[in-house]
C-alpha cells in the first residue's frame, strides 16, 4: 500500500487535524514503520468469528428520571455560552 502525502492529508481532513509540511513528512515515515508492524497479522489464519467471547449478558434498567447536573454545573467549563445554550461555530 502506498503511504504518501495525499493519504496523510486525507486522513488529516477526516480527523480534523491540520498538518504542517514537516508533520506530513514525518508521519509518512512513521506510518510506514507502524504498518509494517501491523502486517505481522496478514498471514495469520483465523476463523470467521469476531464476537468477543467474554460471556457478558446484556443489562437493562428502568428508564427513570433522576436529578442530574444543574445549569451552573453544566456550563462551568465553557466561556462559549448564550442564555441556556452552548455556543458553537456556524454549520454553513
Amino acid at each position: 500500500m502506498k503511504v504518501d502525502k495525499e493519504l496523510i492529508e486525507k486522513i488529516g481532513r477526516i480527523s480534523r487535524i491540520k498538518l504542517s509540511k514537516e508533520e506530513i513528512n514525518k508521519f509518512i515515515q512513521e506510518f510506514k514503520g507502524v504498518l509494517k508492524l501491523f502486517s505481522k497479522i496478514d498471514k495469520v489464519k483465523v476463523e470467521d468469528k469476531i464476537i468477543n467471547e467474554l460471556s457478558v449478558k446484556n443489562k437493562f434498567r428502568e428508564d427513570i428520571t433522576e436529578p442530574c447536573l444543574n445549569e451552573k454545573e453544566i456550563f462551568s467549563n465553557t466561556k462559549n455560552k448564550e442564555k441556556s445554550f452552548f455556543k458553537g461555530p456556524k454549520i454553513k
Binding site: R16, I17, K18, V34, F38, K40, E53, P89, K90, I91
Partner: protein
Amino acid sequence: MNKIVKEAKEIDKEYNTFITLNESLEKGKPIVIKDNICTKGIKTTAGSKILENYIPVFDATVIEKLKSKGFSILGKTVQDAFGFGSFSTNCAYKTPKNPFDKERVCGGSSGGTAAFIKLSKNVKYGLGQSTGGSINCPSAFCGVVGLTPTYGLVSRYGLIDYANSFDRIGPITKNVKDAAYLLSIMAGEDKRDQTTQNKAENYTKYCGSNVKGMKIGLIKEAFSNDVQKEVKSSVLTAIKKFKKLNCKVEEVSFPSLKYVVPVYYILAMAEASTNLAKYCGLRYGKEKKIEGFYDSYFSDVRSENFGKEEKRRILLGTFIRMVGYRDDYYIKALKLRNKIISDFKKLFKKFDVLVTPTMPLLPPKFSEIKNLSPAEIYSMDFLTIPASLVGAPSMSIPVGEVKGLPVGMQLIANYFEEGKLIKLGDAYEKK
C-alpha cells in the same frame, strides 16, 4: 504546612510527579490519583493540553467510594497524554523521573503515581489506569506493586477513556496487601458503567494464605531473546521461590504472543481515535473565540492542543477504520483478539496463574529511547498486552534489583480470580 503536602512538594520538585497538588489536603488517608480519573473540583487533564482547564463537576465512582472510606486526595499525577505511552515521555506538562535514577524513565503511562508511591514515606496508596499495561509497566520500572483488575470488576464511570474495551482502573501501592485493600473498596457493580459485574470480594482475606499446590505456568515465549538477560534471570530466580513454597511450576507455550502487539495497537488506536473526536472546543476543554465555520474551528482547536502522539494515534486509528482498510486491520484484529482469548482460556484450564517478566527491559535512560521509532516503542509492550487484550487480571510485583534498577514480575490469572494473584504475590513478599 502539612508534612504530607510538604514532602509531596519536595518530591514533585525533584521528580515531576504531579500535575495538580492539593495543598489544602483534608484529614484522612492520603491517596494520589492518575490525572485521567475525574475528581470533583480538582483539575483533571488526562495529561493533555486539550483538557488544561477542565474541572469536573462530579467524582468518578472510584473516587466516591474511596472518599466514603476516609480517603483524601493529595494530588493528580503526571501521565502520558490520554495514556498514550510506555515511558511517561509523552506528557504535555512535565516528564516524571525514575526514583532509582533520574536519568531514566518511570514507565508509562501511570508514571507519576508509580514514582511517587515509591518515593513517599507518608503516602502508600495510589491509583493508576491501564489500557495496554499502563499500571504494570510503571510499577515494574519504579519498584512498586501494580494490580490491573479484571475488565468489569471496577467501574470506569468518570474515567477519561482511551479505549473503552480495554481501560481499567487499579491500585499502585508499596505492597500487595495495600493493593488488595484498595481493590476491595473500588470493586463492584455500578449502574453508571454497564460493563461492571457483581463480583466484588474482600481481597485482603487472601493475604497470608497457603499457596501450596498452586499451578503456575511459565510462558516460554516471554523469556525469549527479546527480553534482557538480567530481567530474565531475576524473574527466574523469583519463580524458584514459588517452588520452595510448594507451587507446581511448569513451562507452557503461548504462540500467539508474536502478534499481540499489532492486534492490540490496531484495536486501541481505532477506539482512541473515536474517543478523541469529542474534543473540539465545545462544552469543555480548550476552546477559542467562536468564529467561522465548524470545520476550521474544530480543526484549529484540535491541531493546536493535541500533542504529537495524540495526533499520531488519531491519524492511525482513523486510517484503520477507513473503507478499504477496515477489513484488513480492524476486523482482522477483532477476530484475532477472539482467538487469543480462546487460547488463554485453554491455558487457565490447566494453570492457576501464568507468569512473565512485566517489561522486557530495565528502565531505559531518556537518551536511549529518544531516537526510537513509534513502532519500536510499541513493540516493547508485548508482555503486558496479552492480559490487556483478554481482559484478565494481572499484577506486577518487584522481584529485586539489577545494577541498582528494579525488575518486575507479572502474574496473570483467569477472569475475576484476583484472589489468586494476591495470594501468590503476598506469599512471595513474605518469603
